[in-house]
């Protein structure tokens, strides 16, 4: 059987640097041990006369060895990922309940206040105080937000 006449896999163009009959697909599967024994033997025969490809394979094998031996520092002493994930999964429910409850109370208190027999001028004065506080609060939030948008260090962690 003349191995060098074997066509590349369907849809795959032969690589100009490779020996005839060898394709990137075959070569990579060979390198990564993803070929059945008979295909493996065929690639070994094809490689026999391809010195350049053999040299490349040697480089890829050494790279594989070095990369697989890299141990990454994952910051083991830090807080577990689960703690943060758990917080993010459970806290939204708490915020929704708190927000809904607080809004319901505010509406109820406002209704009590408006429907009470308190004189109008007293209502006006206390409303002015509450609205003033709310306006100041909103202004501070707005200012902080604008500062945050233009802060060049906003993504720097302490």
């Amino acid at each position: 059987m003349n191995d060098t006449t074997l066509p590349p896999s369907p849809g795959e163009a032969p690589e100009p640097d490779l020996a005839p009959g060898l394709t990137p697909d075959l070569l990579m599967r060979f390198l990564d041990g993803e070929l059945p024994p008979e295909e493996r033997a065929r690639v070994e025969r094809l490689l026999a006369g391809a010195t350049e490809v053999q040299r490349d394979l040697l480089v890829y094998r050494q790279i594989h060895e070095d990369l697989s031996e890299i141990r990454l520092r994952t910051g083991g002493g830090r807080r577990s990922v689960w703690d943060r994930v758990h917080q993010r999964l459970t806290r939204p429910l708490g915020w929704i309940l708190l927000g809904t409850g607080a809004t319901a109370w505010l509406i109820y208190l406002a209704w009590l206040y408006l429907s009470s027999a308190t004189p109008s001028w007293e209502k006006l004065m206390s409303s002015a105080v509450v609205i003033g506080i709310l306006l100041l609060f909103a202004s501070v939030i707005h200012e902080r937000y604008r500062e945050w948008l233009t802060d060049p260090y906003r993504d720097v962690e302490r």
Binding site: P24, M28, Q62, I63, D66, S68, L72, V81, V85, L89
Partner: protein, 189 residues
């Protein structure tokens, strides 16, 4: 984790009880963190991506087919999360940082020779830097194959591409890495 136990936990999580998610998170955290570090280049961004991926996976469990393995599905979410995060951060900073402090070096190397040990560690450091210079799709496939040792079928499932594309992409990635190493003046092997 055994597939039956994993399936049972996922069924319970779908009921909204996050407690049953803990064993799954703990089981996939180490590998997930390494994959994310390989893609993001540093531990802090990797942790952010991993947390986001776990949260997204939990929120999407309703759409998850329990006849399939959770791993590839989760790593697909993680990979997308890493890509999104990389895009948003690059768009903002436009800087690339190679984090030398990310690697831990082995002391149980080869024949025990001190010189050889340092040479190999130096080679690994340069290799890591070269990896950072590769395009995103080449880097991610090398991370999945070389750092984590996934099979072609698993990589195809994670990246949602045919197995043939995995092989050709790996070929281009390895070739690309070799070229980068050449440009850096590193001779391999």
């Amino acid at each position: 984790m055994q597939p039956e136990i994993e399936r049972e936990l996922i069924r319970k999580c779908r009921g909204g009880d996050a407690r049953f998610y803990e064993p799954i998170v703990r089981a996939y955290e180490p590998q997930g963190l390494r994959v994310a570090m390989g893609m993001m280049g540093n531990a802090d961004d990797a942790r952010d991506a991993l947390q986001d991926a776990f949260v997204k996976a939990f929120q999407s469990l309703g759409r998850f087919d329990t006849d399939r393995a959770f791993g590839p599905w989760f790593f697909q979410i993680l990979r997308n999360q890493c890509r999104d995060l990389l895009r948003s951060r690059k768009a903002r900073f436009r800087v690339e940082v190679v984090d030398d402090g990310i690697m831990e070096f082995r002391s149980d190397d080869d024949d025990g020779s001190f010189d050889r040990h340092f040479r190999r560690n130096d080679a690994r450091r340069l290799l890591w830097q070269a990896l950072e210079r590769l395009p995103e799709d080449q880097r991610e496939i090398l991370v999945l194959k070389e750092l984590e040792g996934f099979r072609y079928q698993e990589i195809a499932s994670i990246l949602d591409i045919p197995e043939g594309t995995v092989a050709s992409r790996l070929f281009n990635a390895r070739k690309g890495l070799k070229q980068v190493l050449d440009q850096m003046g590193v001779t391999y092997p």
